[in-house]
Amino acid sequence: MARAHKYDVLVVGAGGAGLMAARYAAQNPGVSVAVISKLYPTRSHTGAAQGGVGAALGNVSEDHPEWHAFDTVKGGDYLADQDVAEKFSHEVIDAVYELEHMGLPFSRTPEGRIAQRKFGGHTREFGKSAVERACYAADRTGHMILQTLYQQSIKDQVTFFNEFYVLDVILEDGSARGVVAYELATGELHVFHAKATIIATGGNGRMFKVTSNAHALTGDLMSVLYRRGIPMEDPEFYQFHPTGLYKIGVLLTEGARGEGGILRNADGERFMERYAPTIKDLAPRDMVSRAMYLEIQEGRGVGPDKDYILLDLTHIDAAIIEERLPDITEFARIYLGVDPIKEPVPVQPTAHYAMGGIPTTINTEVIRDGNNTIVPGLYAAGEVACASLHGANRLGTNSLGDLIVFGRRAGIEAAKYAASVDYEPMPDGVTERTRSELDRIRAASGSERASHVRKALQDTMMDNASVFRTSETLQNQVEILAQLRERYAQVSVEDTGTQFNTELMETVELGFLLDNAEQLVHGALNRQESRGAHSREDFTERDDDQWLKHTLVYKEDDGSVRIDYKPVTLGKYEPKPRVY
């Protein structure tokens, strides 16, 4: 039998968003809170974030939340919901001060204030020139956020269930009742009964071959809810970060360009001058990644295979590099044997961030359709969610902002909700679905290995659905995905034990990844325009008349995919061509 637990508020995921949510939920006396995570909290990928968190503090030069909101909307190619962007750009200022009050060790200005630097797409006076908006702690901002939040959760005595994999969300009569989780240590299933459940499980970058994302980022809960009939919003907008280390994808923060780093092609040319004359190397990521691909396509890539670009930091003072970018300097030295102080670093675009995800309202309530129908008791925040802040392309530093702003909102909203309702009854047999899937995999005798299917998925997604897409490559990928699903059904595991069966979990995660890829590819195939990170070679223009709307991808009961759309919330900022 499954072990049973009961908490008023349940947080799934212990990254920045999850910990922030838990903290705020726990501040309500009488509301019990638990956090479930498949990793120890401090192993969450928020810790990998480097560059900074954007907030218009104006510590280095004049700045205003309105400018930030504008940059967010424009960076998102006008697909961002403008009410969300406005609220966000104001609230993130408070949230950053709050982090500081929790002890976060930001780097400092000479006056002792939080240090800020330039970042891609952040500008003064609605696009005039780059502005210092990214609040940073060297190139370990995410690490500091994650550690600080975890430290506070120790102070607050939050209850954690670590190395528990949430494999199902219990939805009954349209409302959420809790989750089913697999305990890695014992192989047991646990049922968590809750009044409110917050999903904060991060991204899904592992569906691509070259990615900055951790092995653990397999889009689990995006898939779980998708299978449960909740649509995914805007999954075709997947961000490729321009500067991943060549071949391995480890990220070199945009902060490197914020500090003056320059991208060069094989001719040594600063090619971004041609693509974005005003802010050059600090253009939004989608533009830079595309420019890099184009340079490579046109034969100006570097190296024996002419397939990478150089990030040049050699003109920057060595002391500044060591002080402000110590970690990425080390990454280049260790993994490529290149010393950024002396030589330019080989980079290539790397799969980085899902703009889309579980659709939510501005208050992080999960919605189930284009009419914004709320799923009572279900909340989502962080990279896994799509409150439509990032639109078609996220600006650098806006994800960490997203975590703290919407993580906080989720905690507050969920606790408020939990305090106002009683536990709804837990239906019978809630573990059946999970148990039978696990049993099926354990008992399978097929000849396929999960790793081979996953590799095929990652390679083909990279080829067919990454920076540039065409109807042909996407159609092709739809078929490949169907074949991969068949192969997935043949996957068997060698480890049939109950304790610490990581092979079993990797296999389950592969199933989740396949769903994530399906959402992305279908969303992309249907969207016949180019916008933000979604770039169609057969539809190269943005088409606001037809496509200024959010995609919703549904999984039907028969396994087929249905696409629907919902309108974008517009506001002050009229959609305009995006030039920098």
Partner: protein
Amino acid sequence: MATAAPKTLKQARETYNTSGELVWWVFMRISGLMLVFLVFAHIYANNIAFNAGEIDYAYVANRLAQPSVKIFDTFLLGFALLHGVNGLRYSIEDYVRKPGRRFWAKAALFTITGIVFVLGTMTLWAFSYDEMGAAVRALN
């Protein structure tokens, strides 16, 4: 593994019982410095200025007949014993893991040290080696 997370200060206090570790730490350093002189002088006197192979009762008794040696050796004995016994305690606490055994090991250590200290002090102060020395000289 489910962890009802944090350790409060109270729990921390319960887990770690207070003691004078700091004082001992300082003592180890001060006594160590003193011992450099005491031990080296001791070795010099007994092994370098004198042929260690020829040490016998007479030599020892003669030495112990001098008050300056008595005082010097008392310091040496006290510091070396305290320094050594505390060092041995460190080792016991690191290597003897079962609480019961650890208790007995330490009890035995302290008892033996106590006895040795008494023995040593008696040797230094309770007897007149002048007479004994004279007796020996007479014997020869």
